[in-house]
């Protein structure tokens, strides 16, 4: 029961302070899920993101379901998901009922402009801490660079890009160009 409450309240907290969707939640996930509660490792979160890219649904919800499921089974997955969804639900209800024109208040606009800067700061830290674990040699850099260029400048869907990366992963592993978990050589 206590674990369920912790799952709910932790994901609730992360839902409140995430502006701009699933990936912007990464800094909060690193702090709360990885460092504080040890519910997952950075590698596992990257796996969940990868799976979330090619399965339907919202990345934040998929990640919450994953983390919750591994802590407390099906009910854990549901509780964590409800946690991350609840703040959105309550805040939007409030706004929709009372202040439909809240973007007309200058103070809100200024605060949001400031928050964007904060999100940028958090993302720089979050990405740089994942960087060394994910991009560590020529092979992994080639995959990173190809995925970046293709997602910025081509219209290929992310699902297709994940597939390409998966195939490159198999080829590069055979050529010992990327590190495979569990094996020692790289």
């Amino acid at each position: 029961m206590r674990l369920l409450w912790e799952l709910y309240s932790t994901w609730f907290k992360m839902g409140i302070v995430t502006f701009g969707g699933g990936y912007a939640m990464l800094p909060m996930i690193q702090r709360e899920v990885i460092e504080k509660h040890h519910w997952a490792t950075e590698e596992e979160i990257l796996d969940y993101y990868a799976i979330g890219q090619c399965t339907p649904g919202i990345i934040a919800v998929n990640t919450a379901t994953f983390v919750g499921y591994y802590q407390k089974g099906v009910i854990g997955g549901i509780v964590a998901t409800l946690g991350v969804v609840s703040p959105s639900f309550l805040i939007i209800l409030l706004i929709a009922s009372f202040v439909s024109n809240f973007l007309d208040y200058p103070i809100v606009v200024h605060a949001l402009a400031g928050i964007n800067i904060g999100v940028c700061v958090l993302m720089v830290k979050a990405i740089s801490s994942l960087w060394s674990k994910s991009v560590y040699n020529i092979g992994s850099f080639v995959i990173f660079f190809a995925a970046l260029v293709l997602s910025l400048f081509s219209s290929l869907s992310t699902v297709l890009l994940v597939l390409i990366a998966a195939i490159l992963g198999i080829i590069f592993s055979k050529l010992k160009l990327v590190k495979v978990e569990g094996s020692k050589d790289a």
């Binding site: 912007a24 649904g57 639900f89 940028c120 992310t158 998966a166």
Partner: protein, 186 residues
């Protein structure tokens, strides 16, 4: 009224099942709902998108709560929100159940070795727009006004502080940034 609830549940379950890759992917489905059922017009939709982007929480959740509330009140909001996350919960629970077994297979480890560097690229690609719109005036042409100097200064200071004191909770960075936005009327 019951029919409306069932339609909402069906439409948002469908969106949750087929919108792959996060909140923005739900927009085409919402456009279709507006065309087919006339629950809201395009102007209302773009206002809802604006509010969903600028309130905490995953955008897909914010949108479904908003649309559900506008269409059928609080119960409508509840039904829409639960319906959009239901497919994710089901699919991810099934995947999570088999993932640990799967990850023992060499080929699956090789696939994840390839996907991992690509996920970093997806994260960067997803937040790049935010960085550009926050730190630059992209439409200003190549002159000093191309850079959003006040934002860059605040960004740099916060980044130095956060790097120097990594124990600071991400929430405080968001709060300080919001405060800066209000104080300096960004």
């Amino acid at each position: 009224m019951l029919e409306l609830y069932i339609t909402l549940a069906f439409e948002f379950f469908k969106t949750g099942l087929f919108a792959i890759g996060g909140g923005l992917a739900t927009i085409p489905f919402l456009k279709e709902m507006s065309d087919v059922y006339g629950w809201f017009d395009i102007d209302t939709l773009s206002m809802m998108i604006g509010i969903s982007e600028s309130t905490p929480g995953p955008m897909g959740i914010n949108m479904s709560t908003y649309v559900g509330f506008n269409t059928a009140g609080i119960l409508g909001a509840l039904i829409s929100t639960l319906s959009i996350v239901a497919p994710s919960i089901i699919i991810i629970t099934i995947i999570a159940h088999y993932l640990k077994e799967f990850k023992k297979l060499t080929i699956v480890q090789e696939i994840f070795a390839g996907i991992k560097p690509a996920v970093i690229a997806f994260i960067i690609a997803a937040v790049l727009d935010l960085f550009i719109s926050t730190l630059l005036h992209a439409d200003a042409g190549l002159s000093l006004s191309f850079f959003n100097i006040p934002n860059i200064i605040i960004f740099a200071i916060l980044l130095v502080v956060y790097t120097r004191f990594p124990k600071i909770h991400p929430i405080f960075i968001i709060l300080i940034a919001a405060l800066c936005g209000v104080i300096f009327s960004l």
